[in-house]
Symmetry: C2
Subunit: 208 residues, 2 copies
Amino acid sequence: MTAARQAVGILIFDDVEVLDFAGPFEVFSRTRLVPGADSRRSDDSAPFDTFTVARSPEAITTIGGLKVIPHYAWADAPPIDILVVPGGFGTRALLRDEEVLAWIRRAAADASLVTSVCTGALLLAQIGTLRGRRATTHWAAHDLLVSIDPTIQLQRDVRVVADTIFTSAGVSAGLDMAFAVVERLHGAEVARETARYIEYVPQYQDTV
Amino acid sequence: MTAARQAVGILIFDDVEVLDFAGPFEVFSRTRLVPGADSRRSDDSAPFDTFTVARSPEAITTIGGLKVIPHYAWADAPPIDILVVPGGFGTRALLRDEEVLAWIRRAAADASLVTSVCTGALLLAQIGTLRGRRATTHWAAHDLLVSIDPTIQLQRDVRVVADTIFTSAGVSAGLDMAFAVVERLHGAEVARETARYIEYVPQYQDTV
């Protein structure tokens, strides 16, 4: 593969929900344009460079207590093409954290595609990115999402909403969101082959 | 909750597949016997104490480059009730690593339940734990599994095999394996409520 890889930057923070970021990380980091002869999945045709980004270089602690060292602190992170904002209860404190909101606002403006998983959508709503758009979030946060921005057209019963911004329902729906992005950028066959590799059957509804 | 929590110990190692360990970590760490009034899921009724274990206290690097600091090194780990052995290409080197095989053998002997995800089954096969049992693994490793132990009754088209040992198909099937364990130990209603929380629809076939 000669074309430059697209940079997938996944924001992580204390009390992020594990599967919210690990699901998209798995899908983006294991996608291959040419699967190759064996199941080792050589990096040669990987279309994405997938990494995590956090406020500081120190490890963050997820809900449940997993400690993850981010690939990059904000200050050192390379440009992000595809921004992934996961959810978890950590998002509640971040709604009032001007520093993280400013970082997301800037990263979202620079990215070619902005996505969220679960209650990551609350942060996108807080910075105005979802204004007037179709979007979704974890079912337990539906009311909170529209209270943050009443112009959002909340989609209640879908796993993925592919408006200009891609948002997903809760936790495991982040896998579907990632596959929706893979399909959009690289076609159904690439998404299908990657899904077969991780033995997942993506369920998403493209509402654009 | 007054009863002691069951300790779920998830082995992690270099080149583990992210979703192989993150899926079961999500399910076990977020299960609640009493979900409570809000979606915060207080720890009060958590039936599992879920942690990762590695050879040394230093961070391991997954396939795709995520760095995870284990909760415990082998030398410091508390007793494990439910052992989870995930897969990934890192398992290939471990098949010839007497130190890790000895650790798994001992942990499996002490655990009340032994489980694997994906090619984690190769390691269980290598130590003889799957002898004569029904088991499964990632579809790309079916032949390898039975070449390690020809007495294994390979189950090709199921996501979870709940023999004395619980094994699962590839990667995302670890979510289903974890839900099968939750259902076995705490009933269908607890499994269903947790699945609803993470918006996952478990698919497993209990072949015992």
